[in-house]
């Protein structure tokens, strides 16, 4: 049975958390940075994804703090989350390498 591929928003959220724990708005800003401004996560999408990722055991709450009277909850990647992100990244890399090789652009990628 083939495994379901990860959605781009999920992949980017996990990538944002790969460097360390972050709070909600930090993830939104980091995802925008990682995607070169192409993906702008909105709160509904972000918390829907975080809820699903917590349920699947890929992300967990690291800590909470109150800044200027507002609650900030920091999320971090679990070991399972890191494994799944690595698997997905390797899959993307392999697909991209194949595509570039077939387009005759593989050398350009190496430089």
């Amino acid at each position: 049975m083939t495994k379901r591929t990860m959605q781009e928003a999920t992949f980017l959220i996990l990538t944002a958390l790969a460097a360390g724990s972050q709070h909600g708005y930090g993830i939104v800003a980091d995802v925008a940075r990682i995607s070169g401004g192409r993906v702008r996560l909105r709160a509904g999408t972000l918390y829907s994804a975080l809820d699903r990722l917590r349920l699947d055991g890929l992300v967990r709450v690291d800590r909470e703090e109150v800044v200027e009277g507002r609650l900030r909850r920091y999320y971090q990647l679990t070991a399972e989350g890191a494994t799944q992100l690595a698997t997905e990244a390797a899959r993307f890399q392999a697909n991209a390498a194949t595509a570039l090789a077939r387009l005759g652009l593989a050398e350009g990628m190496a430089t």
């Binding site: 708005y25 909105r42 709160a43 999408t45 972000l46 918390y47 809820d51 699947d56 609650l71 909850r73």
Partner: protein, 217 residues
């Protein structure tokens, strides 16, 4: 300040669509993210933000709260949605074909009394369509409740299987000649879907019992 207060009130209104348990744990946090992302001078939520919050709330209310790793439970919930689709197809087919059934019947038997046809519609076809409609709602309810891991829902689903299987068996025992072939096919498919969903739902319990037996033996 008044603008920010108005914006916050607007966001809070949209956050009411979320389940209470989620709001209790996350409302302040989500609000913080929404306000941090707001434009300078923004006074009310953008329509795109509202749609996104609504979509997130609906997804949280409707989607199964079962981890993807628990494949058996996820498949069981999907089978319940399939059951709802089959029931709905049956109800729609009954309603959509009443006219052609009537025409066919009067063509084969021109002397067939109108009153008797009305009695067939009122006594058999209409109750069957209504029952199918109720069954659709029940399948959806079971998918939602089992997707949330409610234990009572599993028991109710098992009882529902008993009723379904009894209905099918009873219909067959009453005389397969009066049991329309399409009706029998739909009933059999639903029973099989039900049985498969139940086996998946009780998969862990079955394995636990089997494990106990093998370790005891």
């Amino acid at each position: 300040m008044t603008g920010t207060a108005g914006l916050e009130r607007g966001y809070r209104r949209w956050l009411r669509w979320y389940p209470r348990t989620f709001r209790r744990e996350h409302e302040a946090e989500v609000l913080g993210v929404l306000l941090a992302g707001a434009r300078e001078g923004q006074r009310r939520p953008d329509p795109v933000e509202c749609l996104d919050l609504l979509r997130g709330a609906l997804s949280m209310r409707l989607r199964p709260r079962v981890a993807r790793a628990e494949r058996a439970a996820v498949t069981a919930v999907r089978l319940m949605y399939l059951g709802a689709v089959v029931e709905l197809a049956a109800a729609v087919t009954i309603l959509a074909t009443i006219g052609s059934v009537r025409a066919g019947m009067f063509q084969r038997n021109p002397g067939y009394p109108q009153a008797q046809w009305h009695a067939v519609v009122a006594g058999r076809l209409a109750p069957t369509a209504v029952a199918a409609g109720i069954a659709v709602a029940f399948w959806l309810w079971m998918a939602w409740a089992n997707g949330r891991g409610h234990r009572w829902a599993r028991i109710l689903f098992a009882l529902f299987f008993g009723v379904n299987a009894f209905g099918l068996g009873n219909g067959l025992a009453a005389g397969s000649a009066v049991y329309a072939r399409a009706d029998l096919a739909v009933g059999t498919v639903l029973c099989l879907v039900h049985l498969a969903a139940m086996a998946l739902l009780f998969d862990q319990d079955i394995r636990r019992v089997a494990g106990h037996r093998s370790s005891a033996g």
